[in-house]
Symmetry: C2
Subunit: 187 residues, 2 copies
DNA sequence: ACCTGAACACCGTTCAAGT
DNA sequence: ACCTGAACACCGTTCAAGT
């Protein structure tokens, strides 16, 4: 949890752990990446990994944290875009791409967003607030139905990302988003 | 795999295993139910469980099999219902309720339906064929957009069931289905 | 102050030894 | 023909012993 350890070997180990976890998450996904493998790859013992990150969620939050914070930032930025831009769709697409990038992270998000606890939960709350603001603007623009909420938007995006990563070929996400935005009914 | 073992003690053990698994799946969900706990609860060794069901998927398929087959049957039955009935929505609701009943089964379905292998996969293929037929009729009735496919319908239902079981209060499923059917856009 | 690595509890799965 | 239960490989996590 300590962002900047005092001793230089501790700082170096922390950097190595983050590097190893990032690489392994990219290669095999969050679920398949074993904690002990991350430690071994970083050249440290499992106890050292535990000292820096008390559980897997803390490590996950560290790795995906910047990218996740960027989604909140993106939502705020989209508020100032001209009405010709489909800000709701653009943001949801970015969210789905973010989740898909790290396979297995959809479940972590869903649970963290639900409880609001832990290092992931607090970050998810920030994203949800940004989504609420975004939905408010999209509704005013006529780009979203008037009863849609920010958390519902995130739930739908998480659901699409989950289906996309567990069952479908990787390029089905946009097609599924079409269905979610336009509905299964005839227009 | 053998449906009807010859020796009476084997048949009795099989029945006990199914009973124990059904109870434990109901209590804690499919994911949290440990194989060894199921065996202990049935009063047999883990090896006996393995002999009757070679892995957890085989056991899961046995437990949820009848209910899953019922969904294919339901889809066929709905084909003959009068056009006043919203057959697509009724069937998807039933599918979501079925998945929600056994927590943790959404992932098994998604994977099984994707590969089409194993005892679950073959059953999922039958459900998908029934869904395709149902979608065809719903499109002719004007209850579904003309480019919707059966597998897409199942993907959306699985996604909603997954969100519902991992993040949301248990009664959110119908609200999410409203969003999926009508879309996030204003009508 | 921080690291090491053996150890723990738990999971699903296997198989040699029995009856 | 079928069951038993110890054992295996693997996971995340812990902690006593070091430097």
């Amino acid at each position: 949890m300590t962002e900047h350890p005092r001793r230089s070997d501790a700082r170096r180990n922390r950097a190595r752990l983050i590097e190893a976890a990032t690489a392994l998450f990219d290669e095999v996904g969050v679920n398949a990446a074993a904690m002990n493998d991350i430690a071994r790859r970083a050249g440290v013992g499992p106890g050292t990994l535990w000292r820096h990150f008390p559980d897997k969620e803390a490590l996950t939050a560290e790795i995906v944290g910047q990218s996740l914070d960027g989604l909140a930032t993106l939502a705020i930025e989209l508020l100032d875009e001209p009405p010709s831009r489909d800000i709701l769709r653009e943001w949801v697409s970015a969210l789905v791409r973010h989740i898909t990038r790290y396979r297995g992270i959809a479940t972590s998000y869903a649970r963290a967003a639900h409880t609001g606890d832990g290092p992931l939960g607090t970050r998810c709350l920030a994203v949800e607030q940004a989504a609420t603001e975004l939905v408010r603007h999209a509704r005013a623009r006529g780009q979203a139905r008037t009863d849609l909420t920010g958390s519902e938007l995130i739930e739908m995006a998480t659901a699409v990302a989950w289906v996309n990563e567990t069952t479908a070929p990787p390029d089905t996400a946009e097609r599924l988003l079409d269905l979610v935005f336009e509905g299964l009914r005839p227009r």
